[in-house]
């Protein structure tokens, strides 16, 4: 008794780690190719060259597996570019997002991850954490812009970064419009314009 709980926690090295890695990669492939609804544990096990019992025992549900995949993805981060101006930085961010979402592998993967999150609270929490980390990485460029006097003090840096991504995801998921460099540039420009005008200042009204 008292073995800690979840399998994989007592002997996390060697084979266990290898299996986890293989299954997560296989899940990524399966999600990319079949999407969230066409997902099946046996198929993932086959792709990963792993017993399907293992997949069931370690993760149990598709939702839990996706949540674990999101945690794994959150850990590996891409570095941020710095251009010296807020518009330059956020345009770089918008282009990064645009390229990711139109990538023939990453695009479908992200769609599937978001779809998975709509149906399960734990997956949704993992998705929110993933994006929170990504937003956090880019927030400093907004704070630098505040210091330079480009945007008003009190601007919510996170909200500005989110405002850049929002229209791109809207195109991807909802309107289906073309998601090209123009759309990315426009998203960055709109966010910067609004930020400069003080739209993202959180405590408006207190000082006036």
């Amino acid at each position: 008794m008292a073995d800690g709980g979840e399998p994989g926690t007592v002997r996390p090295g060697g084979r266990t780690a290898r299996v986890r890695e293989a299954v997560l990669r296989a899940a990524e492939d399966a999600l990319t190719e079949q999407g969230f609804s066409g997902l099946d544990l046996a198929d993932i096990a086959r792709r990963a060259d792993v017993g399907k019992t293992t997949v069931y025992r370690r993760w149990g549900t598709v939702a839990a597996l996706v949540a674990d995949l999101l945690q794994d993805m959150a850990e590996q981060s891409a570095p941020r570019t710095e251009t010296g101006s807020l518009l330059g930085d956020l345009t770089a961010n918008a282009l990064l997002v645009q390229r990711t979402l139109t990538d023939p592998r990453q695009g479908p993967l992200f769609k599937a991850l978001i779809a998975a999150a709509t149906g399960d609270a734990r997956t949704a929490a993992a998705l929110h954490r993933f994006y929170d980390i990504r937003v956090r990485e880019w927030a400093p460029c907004v704070r630098q812009a505040v210091d330079r006097g480009e945007v008003p003090r009190g601007t919510d840096a996170h909200e500005v970064v989110r405002a850049v991504s929002a229209p791109l995801y809207y195109h991807l998921l909802i309107s289906g419009d073309r998601l090209d460099e123009t759309a990315a540039a426009r998203a960055a420009e709109a966010a910067v314009t609004a930020a400069r005008a003080g739209v993202y200042v959180t405590d408006r009204g207190r000082k006036g």
Copy 2:
């Protein structure tokens, strides 16, 4: 032979129409409660008091049923309010969207519809059509603003309306942030600010 094709096309009245209505309402309920992944035709048939054979024969797949539901939803439209200013109009729009997405019934339903669209091209097309219609209904207020001189000529009215919704859907699906009146007001304000600055003018560069 040569009976036209799809069932329900030769005798569309009476029972057939009643069944379609009942099934669509049941599908709406099921989507709202169970989400997209937990959907099953037998359950929908039970809710609709209809043989599951009928559901299978008429729609075949979950995706096709959802697509039909979206078409049905697209047909019934909500009227648009007019306030006289672009900010007023778009704030009304943002609040409408915000209230819809936070509604305990509609919110989960829309999440499920969007999730369904990520996995199937026909469902995606139906979703795009639905939103295109909604955007089209609100576009006139942007064109009126152009006529009043509030925003520059050449502004893409559809893109402005989409810009209002985008952050709200981003909150709902991706970041998980609170989706309150403040967020709605901010979304409208950001869109108006950017529109005034000419961010949504489509043929920029041609005239300069």
